[in-house]
């Protein structure tokens, strides 16, 4: 119990719960009305998945700067498949996932074959993907595609948006992968101490490729969420996802150096950021002040975590 209280996840959960309660009270419980809650959770799905997409590469001590743009590219490409190529929605969805995973695979292969820093490789592929994303439909917007897919995006189960459930399911799957599967453990081992992992017969190269591929696949899932839930896509999708993709896992307690992940932390951090977002529209706060507030909240959260560490450290 004590050890649970000391975790970063616990701090985040407390802050998130307090923040949510405070906002609910401050909005005269408007936050808890079906419509508001629905919008809250629907737009939480994307930051969760994109945060996880970044987290899986952070796990091996790499970064993927292309997650955001890749999400946009997959989304626009599936729009193209449905509208310009006239293919049915399931094909477009599968294609988005496959495309994401393939680009991730290419990222991983480039990293291991060129031995260039993953940061630079993904920066380069991000630029390439920007071109491709624009190349699909220029500045045009796809909308009015598959009603079934959009209905799926709008659907709710017991008042909870299906896309949010999808994001949670993905988070559970990712957690399970890292916790319970052998490739997942190998991946983390490789991130925690590559040399030791190699001495234990784990292929670091395979771990790198796997992490990047998974990251791409998750970006593909993010694209599916975008296409389904938001009803229209164009080449600007993904531009504002890069920083949130880092913010969620890192605030959530994931180490940049690799070897340590936290799915719960990532989800909670995404929740926190979304909370600030929503309070902005509820109270009509100037966006610039929101930026200031997000900055303060993030710093506050980590400082609190630090304070907690100090406290528990002192008890030793």
């Amino acid at each position: 119990m004590r050890s649970l209280v000391r975790t970063n996840e616990f701090t985040l959960a407390v802050i998130a719960a307090l923040g949510f309660a405070a906002l609910a009270v401050a909005t005269d419980f408007n936050l808890l009305t079906a419509g508001t809650l629905d919008a809250f959770l629907r737009f939480l799905a994307l930051p969760i998945v994109i945060g996880l997409a970044q987290m899986v590469v952070l796990a091996v001590g790499q970064m993927n700067l292309s997650v955001g743009v890749l999400t946009g590219f997959c989304a626009v490409a599936s729009g193209w498949l449905m509208i310009d190529a006239g293919l049915p929605a399931p094909v477009a969805v599968l294609a988005a996932l496959a495309l994401g995973a393939t680009v991730g695979l290419v990222n991983g292969l480039l990293v291991i074959f060129t031995r260039i820093n993953g940061f630079i490789v993904t920066l380069a592929t991000m630029t390439i993907l920007e071109g491709l994303r624009y190349g699909v439909n220029g500045t045009g917007t796809y909308q009015g595609y598959s009603p079934g897919l959009r209905e799926f995006g709008q659907a709710s189960l017991a008042g909870v948006p299906v896309v949010f459930l999808l994001a949670v399911a993905i988070a559970v799957a990712v957690a399970l992968f890292f916790r319970r599967t052998v490739p997942g453990r190998h991946l983390l081992a490789s991130g925690g101490n590559p040399f030791a992992a190699r001495l234990s017969g784990i292929s670091n190269d395979r771990a790198l490729v796997l992490a990047h591929t998974l990251s791409g696949l998750l970006a593909g899932f993010a694209a599916v969420i975008v296409v389904a839930a938001f009803g229209s896509v164009n080449a600007s999708i993904g531009d504002d996802l890069l920083l949130p993709s880092f913010a969620a896992p890192i605030i959530g307690g994931v180490a940049l150096a690799g070897g340590m992940i936290s799915v719960t932390g990532t989800v909670l951090a995404a929740f926190l950021v979304r909370l600030v977002d929503v309070s902005q529209s509820q109270f009509d706060i100037n966006r610039r002040w929101v930026d200031l507030i997000i900055g303060a909240v993030v710093l506050g959260a980590v400082l609190l975590g630090q304070f907690r560490d100090k406290l528990s450290g002192g008890q030793r």
Binding site: T27, N30, T33, G35, T36, D38, A39, F40, R42, F43, L46, Y134, G138, T139, G140, T141, Q143, G144, R150, Q154, V226, F230, G231, S232, V233, N234, A235, S236, I237, G238, D239, D240, L241, D277, V278, Q280, S281, Q282, D284, N286, R287, R288
Partner: protein, 324 residues
């Protein structure tokens, strides 16, 4: 000792075939897409040396400056520019004019005095006013209105806000501007999120939304349609997505601007200036026109626009350009 500035030259004396026009938007945006065809048309119509369209600036003033320098290095000598940053673009204009190029500010005017030869642009305040008027009409003259727009720290956005406020003020309190949401035009997803949050927080109190930026327009049309709330959406421009909304009913009206006219008349004026004409009133600002389109006049608006474009050209020939 410093050498005298011998590099400063005046535009002039170029035959049309020597005039190479560069149309440079601030970045990729549906609004500018008509420039491409209009520029090509101007080239053949006016027998210009060349007309190019370069949208690689990516909404970054530094990059746009770079693009302009590269174009100059390739021999382009007349520039129609949408300045990324209205507050900074004047120094770029001065830079280009120092090198003896004709420069027109297209689709947006610099903040403060215009240092380009002329500015041919939608009067954004008027356009926003018209949009707000259309919204007030659509909501039946009373209720709550929301304004969605782009980058707050941009003088054009400030003018748009002013235009909307003016229209609201004229209702004498019957219409209330509940909120002006800014900074949501950077990408579609932020616009979608902002619209969803807005509708969740205040959807039931709102009767109309007026958009003065593209991504919010697309997002609010779709968002309102999905929420099934009885909110009238006033969009901007005539991108296929907006026209579809107009036909489908999710958009009540849209405010069109005149990018074609800007590119064609702009190229024409740049050619004339390069050929030795001068502008009678340096830095003059000309409204390129804005039009409210509803489902009823969907078919006729193109003719209005062509007429306006023709009138613009006449205006240049008549009293703006001094040629000898």
């Amino acid at each position: 000792t410093k050498k005298s500035d011998t590099t400063d030259t005046e535009a002039g004396g170029r035959e049309p075939a020597q005039v190479k026009v560069a149309l440079v938007p601030g970045g990729s945006h549906p609004y500018f897409q008509p420039w491409k065809d209009a520029g090509a048309a101007a080239k053949s119509e006016l027998s210009l040396g060349d007309v190019t369209f370069n949208e690689t600036a990516g909404w970054d003033q530094t990059k746009q400056n770079d693009v302009l320098k590269s174009l100059a290095a390739q021999g382009y000598n007349a520039f129609g520019v949408f300045g990324v940053s209205p507050d900074n673009i004047n120094s770029t204009f001065e830079d280009l004019k120092r090198q003896g190029f004709a420069v027109g500010s297209l689709a947006s005017c610099p903040a403060g005095a215009n240092k380009a030869d002329f500015c041919l642009s939608t009067d954004v305040e008027v356009a926003a006013y018209k949009g707000a008027k259309a919204a007030i009409d659509a909501m039946g003259g009373q209720g709550n209105l929301v304004h969605l727009t782009g980058n707050k720290v941009d003088s054009n956005t400030q003018r748009r806000i002013k235009g909307v406020e003016k229209a609201v003020a004229e209702t004498g309190g019957k219409v209330v501007l509940v909120q002006s949401v800014t900074d949501i035009d950077k990408d579609l997803q932020s616009a979608q999120k902002a619209v969803a949050d807005l509708l969740a927080a205040k959807g039931r109190q709102i009767q109309a939304i007026v958009n003065t930026a593209y991504n919010p327009a697309v997002a609010s049309a779709e968002g309102v349609r999905q929420s099934k709330l009885p909110i009238k959406v006033i969009a901007i421009d005539d991108d296929p997505a907006v026209l579809d909304g107009l036909r489908g009913g999710s958009v009540a009206a849209t405010v069109l601007q005149n990018p074609v006219g800007q590119a064609r008349v702009g190229s024409y004026a740049l050619m004339k200036l390069s050929g030795g004409c001068t502008i009678s009133e340096p830095g003059v600002t000309i409204d390129s026109g804005s039009f409210v389109v509803t489902r009823d006049n969907l078919d006729g608006y193109e003719a209005d626009r062509t007429a306006t474009t023709e009138a613009l050209r006449k205006k240049f020939d008549g009293d703006l350009l001094k040629c000898n």
